[in-house]
Point group: C2
Chain length 145, copies 2
DNA sequence: ATTCATATTTACGTTAACGTAAGGGTAAAC
DNA sequence: GTTTACCCTTACGTTAACGTAAATATGAAT
């Protein structure tokens, strides 16, 4: 956390702030990556001079980006997710557009769920076959999780 | 399908075979991609002269690769999946190694399931907010799926 | 005063996963 | 016999998502 012993009142950490390395450490990504996300407009932190200052909304956006990455989303795909979180638009066409995107994302997730489940089943079968082969050999020491 | 009006017996399509464009069409990927998967050793089709001939196991491997892609796996990650499907190894250390990989994959899938569920929830909320905003405006025409 | 630790920008380098010609072979169809 | 529809190889090009210096600034600590 960026600790700033401001002029007077040291109480009330009302507005939580993070430095780039705070976020870097918390999420296990490089500062380079975080800056890159800014380069392409996914994050827009404030500045104190040149130094970047991240707020909780920024942190949330980063979280969304990284979750997207774990699901194999490109940064452009994550952009849509991030923009959904960003409550900035109001007009009808934009809202409808957004709804479409939401449906598309839902569809993707649905497909991923199917894929995950079949893959899980495959893994379970592979595991069974593996264990069977193992104790057929005689390696009785169990390898459990 | 590669139709080969062989010498005699036209019956018994015992050994199903696919051409590269068969698979390309079926899965909606370019032949370039399929060849690329071969370049890096993920597929090893037979040859009839220069022409590639794919068998059902090849097809399955391709399916595994593409499923991996949808889940955001790199080709190197998918290689492990494909090798799990390939029933080629027998010795104890290899089997234990394989078991480890299986556990790792299971862990990844578990994390992905978590991510998908939270993201789903987010989408549902975004959708609700969106719809609310819409009929607050007065666009009564429902946009449903 | 100088050493950290952490911040910045600019800019070239890298890897994965193909795309995209360019050039050529074969076999059935017209 | 030449057009059509596939197939092939070699090889350079491209995009995304950063990695990796290099050179510089800044505030706190010794």
């Amino acid at each position: 956390m960026v600790s700033k012993p401001m002029s007077s009142k040291p109480t009330k950490p009302k507005t939580t702030e993070y430095s780039i390395s705070d976020l870097s450490r918390e999420f296990g990504v490089t500062t380079r990556s975080i800056r890159h996300y800014e380069d392409i407009g996914l994050l827009t932190p404030q500045r104190h001079g040149l130094t970047r200052i991240y707020t909780p909304p920024d942190r949330t956006k980063l979280k969304l980006i990284l979750r997207g990455k774990r699901l194999g989303f490109s940064l452009e795909e994550s952009r849509e997710i991030v923009e959904m979180y960003d409550p900035n638009q109001g007009n009808t066409t934009q809202l409808k557009h957004l709804l479409e995107h939401i449906q598309i994302q839902k569809g993707k997730l649905k497909q991923q769920l199917k894929d995950i489940n079949t893959m899980r089943q495959d893994l379970i079968e592979a595991e069974a076959a593996c264990l069977k082969a193992l104790n057929k050999i005689g390696a009785v020491e169990a390898t459990q999780a």
